[in-house]
């Protein structure tokens, strides 16, 4: 009997352990939903002064870096992509279990959803991240039709079919953290420029559009929750190319907000507000609904000033327990520097920017380039990057880390140099049999085949290939304009 009992216990122990492993590997590691919540749980208790909630209109537009650097505000954005207001309500509840912020900021774009249930992927993004609790169950029940509750509550049924898409980050979550969400405090910086026209003037209206019953219920629930807890609530609507109907929803939300003391609604979608922000729709957006690095600075700058003026929020800069905010600001600056490097077309500017970041660069210059008129000039510039071209003959190559040379060689002798750049990436530089030098990252050759200067840039902070640039040698010159390799 004792033996059988031991067998049964052993069996269920192995089952539980293996199910745990299965869960870790197969669960969704969604960076614009689930992972935002996972990262939030790592924040020290009662450390966040401003909690932001909402959809990507919050987490892609409000820069935690700007709030920190310009105002010393310790802000965390607990959001989910395309998040409807009912999920936002449960996120607010969840946040208040561990944090006592001085103010709650909720972007209400979620009230513009006029359906009761969103599509499958959105439900997952906005429910699975929460820790097991009755609130999580209620969140699922609010998000999905009754017939689907077991699927979303058990979670396995929805992600077991991920066997077709498993990747490194599923087995090694640090890959995901390192690449994306290490100390971003929920913010996702979008770069790039998406020029567009300002929304038509008709948006400057007071006309209301009735919220759906479900939407109004949860909007009021958020207002009541903040009221109950005695925490000021700032509802906002970030600027974007909105529809007239959406403005109607915001007007309805503004009216409802007035019914509650301590709650304010700030709608940034009006011509006077655009002017006050100094927003340029030609340059400040990364896509039709999200601001870019320029736009977030303007928008968050205004928001930070407003928060400082209207609420009692301490300046945490210099406080050693908030060092993670410094790291976050550095990450953000690094991401902007990366974008600028990628956008840089001019050789001089490119080499200059390369000196400033946390990069591993491979420079390869071909033998034919030595015949060009500006070879000497380029050699001098490369020397500043750690590459002594004069010391090589034929096709030469140099690997440098932040301007410090690690390795240099030419194709006159056979050689192979490699370095493990992170846990799963290997950079290999080697002379090839019929002359020339190959630059290989993770079993892929990157170097351009033509004559000229080729540069591969690996980002040591985010552990990823950042750029593959080529300055061709043609018509007796090494061109100073970058082309894609």
């Amino acid at each position: 009997m004792r033996r059988k009992t031991a067998k049964i216990i052993g069996f269920f122990l192995v089952l539980a352990l293996s199910l745990g492993c299965f869960h870790r590997v197969f669960q969704f590691k969604n960076t614009s939903g689930n992972y935002l919540v996972t990262a939030f749980y790592r924040e020290p208790k009662n450390s966040v002064d401003v909690m932001c909630f909402g959809s990507s209109h919050a987490f892609a537009n409000i820069s935690t870096a700007v709030l920190w650097e310009d105002y010393g505000i310790a802000c965390y954005e607990l959001c989910g992509a395309s998040q409807p207001i009912w999920n936002t309500y449960y996120y607010v509840k969840e946040a208040l279990k561990t944090q006592t912020p001085k103010v709650l900021v909720v972007d209400v774009h979620g009230i513009t959803k006029y359906v009761d249930y969103l599509e499958h992927s959105r439900i997952i993004q906005n429910t699975y991240g929460l820790r097991p609790s009755w609130d999580k169950v209620e969140n699922v029940m609010a998000s999905a039709p009754k017939s689907s509750w077991p699927d979303y509550l058990l979670e396995y049924p929805t992600y077991h079919s991920r066997y077709t898409e498993l990747g490194r980050s599923d087995f090694d979550p640090s890959a995901l953290v390192g690449e994306y969400y290490n100390d971003w405090k929920g913010f996702e910086l979008l770069t790039g420029v998406y020029p567009m026209e300002k929304p038509r003037e008709a948006i400057n209206t007071d006309r209301e559009v009735e919220l759906t019953e479900k939407t109004e219920k949860y909007l009021r629930a958020i207002l009541e929750l903040a009221d109950e807890r005695g925490i000021p609530l700032l509802l906002i609507s970030a600027p974007y190319n909105l529809l007239l109907r959406e403005q109607g929803y915001y007007n309805a939300a503004a009216r409802i907000t007035q019914e509650y003391d301590g709650a304010v609604f700030l709608n940034f979608n009006s011509y006077p507000m655009y002017d006050e922000l100094g927003l340029d729709f030609q340059t400040d957006f990364a896509d039709s609904i999200h601001l870019n690095q320029i736009g977030t600075k303007k928008y968050t700058g205004y928001l930070g000033k407003y928060l400082k003026e209207h609420y009692d929020i301490p300046d945490r800069r210099g406080d050693s327990s908030y060092a993670s905010y410094d790291a976050m600001a550095e990450n953000c600056a690094h991401r902007i520097a990366n974008y600028e490097l990628q956008q840089e077309k001019d050789l001089d500017g490119y080499l200059e920017k390369l000196q400033e970041g946390d990069y591993l660069a491979v420079y390869r210059i071909t033998g034919g380039s030595r015949e060009t008129a500006n070879f000497g000039e380029v050699s001098e510039e490369l020397k500043a990057c750690g590459f002594s071209v004069d010391e090589t003959a034929g096709t030469g190559v140099c690997v440098a880390e932040n301007g410090e040379r690690l390795f240099q060689a030419d194709d006159s002798v056979a050689f192979t140099w490699h370095r493990q750049t992170d846990e799963s990436s290997v950079l290999t530089v080697s002379a090839v049999q019929d002359g020339g030098i190959s630059v290989n990252l993770n079993r892929t050759d990157y170097a351009a085949s033509g004559e000229g200067l080729y540069i591969l840039v690996y980002d040591l902070r985010e552990n990823k290939l950042l750029d593959s640039a080529y300055f061709a040698a043609a018509d007796g010159l090494i061109t100073d304009e970058k082309t894609a390799a």
């Binding site: 069996f11 499958h120 699927d151 929805t158």
Partner: protein, 494 residues
């Protein structure tokens, strides 16, 4: 409530937990309540029909010993048969009969009869009707004593593991167990684990193989005119695997679930595709139905103890009834007729084949000869499956025509086969699962024991490895979750 549903996942442990702890005397009542709940989860109104069938056959059992003379006894049996088969015919065949009658009427210029009402086919009606009727016949023959306790008898008819898709149990086996349920020693580690292993293997067959392979079958058969010989042949072979795994899995789960509760249900499948003749195939396929038809139809008709032609008639009638039992459609009748013809042809050609083998000294004991027999049997069974799977006779004939006229061997090489509803990854998963099924069936063939018995005799690490392999195969590669609605077991419609 299908076996691979959340509903059953909650229902079964609750039933078991209560069953194991309540006083012994209440066991059968609890199982009766659970069985009716199980059946009513499809449609509460269905319970009336099963209750009616139960009452009629129960009363027939009570009346038979009291009936004086053979004529009176036969009258009781006829009454039980007519009412039960009448209910079955009405719910299952009314639409079929009406549409055929209308076809006849319109062909002679008479206007068609409008359907006065809609009939919903109650789940599993063919199964429990046959099970209940077997009781009437068994009492009539004196094989068993009539059951005096109505509730025990009601449990025999409605016992939930095998209620909607078999095995079709006999009163001699199941009713006698119901009568002894108080004596069951429930806490039997070996018995419970063996039952659980069978349930797991059944779920594996259903969720990993049957529901995956159905994608190929459905895609090709739903637009058969777009496909050539190879694809149609492949889809037909896939269907043979699908129906085996689908129906076989239900029986396995039913047998396993019953075993966990201390009941032994009869075997329903015994590696049917290893059969070397159609006759053997029917001794291995849907054993509970084929033996029912043999005991209660074929033998009463005279079996083979009669003239050759009468024997052929008996075979044909039995298989036509079998076909009709499977569904109200000419496709099933043709399917049954084909199997009847196969058997008759086997009997006619048997002596000639033996003569041929003797004349040319064919080595019939060799592996290759037996393999050839299996291939021919499998091919014949597959040919009949075409009619079983097609929606109409026209469709089935269309498939057959295209198999013989649209020769397309290039699809074996140009990746077309990965576009039949399953991509490369899914095909690899399917092949791996089929390999596991093949190994389990091989053990069955070679050792003559089922997977649960085989594993019981193996080392702990191997047993656990197999169980975890099956479990994770189901958990990862099973077809379930959003974008998938629990596919009904194919045999539920019968």
């Amino acid at each position: 409530m299908v076996f691979n549903s959340y509903h059953f996942l909650i229902f079964f442990p609750i039933v078991i937990a209560v069953y194991f702890v309540i006083p012994r005397k209440l066991r059968y009542l609890w199982l009766l309540v659970a069985s009716y709940y199980f059946y009513m989860s499809w449609n509460p109104r269905y319970a009336v029909l099963i209750a009616l069938s139960t009452v009629i056959t129960f009363l027939s059992g009570l009346l038979l010993p009291r009936a004086r003379g053979t004529a009176a006894k036969k009258l009781v049996v006829a009454g039980s048969f007519l009412t039960n088969l009448g209910i079955l015919a009405f719910f299952k065949y009314f639409d079929f009969l009406l549409s055929n009658l209308n076809l006849l009427l319109t062909s002679v210029g008479i206007s068609a009869i409008q359907k006065p009402f809609d009939i919903i086919l109650p789940v599993g009606i063919s199964f429990y009707t046959f099970q209940a009727l077997s009781y009437t016949v068994d009492v009539y023959r004196g094989d068993i004593q009539p059951e005096k306790n109505f509730f025990r008898y009601a449990l025999f008819v409605s016992f939930f593991p095998q209620l909607v898709a078999g095995p079709i149990e006999r009163s001699k086996n199941l009713l006698s167990q119901v009568d002894r349920v108080e004596e069951f020693q429930l806490w039997d580690y070996e018995r419970i684990t063996r039952g659980a292993v069978l349930m797991l293997f059944g779920l594996f067959q259903k969720m990993v193989i049957a529901d995956r392979i159905s994608a190929v079958v459905d895609q090709v058969y739903n637009s058969y005119w777009m496909y050539g010989s190879i694809e149609l042949l492949l889809a037909t072979v896939c269907f043979s695997a699908q129906i085996y795994c689908d129906f076989g899995s239900y029986s396995l789960i039913a047998i396993g679930a019953a075993r966990v509760m201390g009941f032994d249900l009869m075997e329903n499948f015994n590696v049917p595709y290893a059969a070397r003749s159609i006759r053997e195939f029917w001794a291995r396929w849907h054993i509970s139905l084929s033996s029912w038809l043999k005991d209660y139809l074929y033998i009463p008709l005279g079996g083979n103890r009669c003239s050759r032609w009468k024997n052929y008639r008996n075979i044909m009638v039995t298989f036509l009834v079998s076909g009709l039992w499977h569904g109200a459609n000419w496709t099933f009748i043709v399917w049954g007729a084909l199997h009847g013809l196969y058997q008759i042809a086997g009997k006619i050609l048997g002596p000639a084949k033996e003569k041929f083998n003797r004349r040319f000294a064919v080595r019939t004991g060799t592996f290759s000869y037996r393999l050839g027999q299996r291939i021919v049997t499998f091919a014949l069974v597959n040919f009949a499956w075409i009619f079983f799977r097609a929606d109409t006779i026209r469709g089935a004939l269309g498939v057959v025509r295209r198999i013989f006229t649209s020769w397309d061997p290039w699809v074996l090489f140009d990746q077309s086969l990965y576009m039949l509803g399953l991509d490369q990854t899914e095909v690899h998963i399917l092949l791996a699962a089929l390999l596991l099924l093949f190994l389990a069936d091989l053990v069955r063939c070679k050792k003559g024991i089922t997977l649960d018995v085989f594993l019981e005799g193996e080392c702990l690490w191997f047993r656990w490895a197999c169980i975890f392999l099956l479990f994770y195969f189901i958990l990862i590669f099973g077809i379930y979750g959003p974008a998938f609605e629990a596919k009904q077991f194919i045999y539920f419609q019968f």
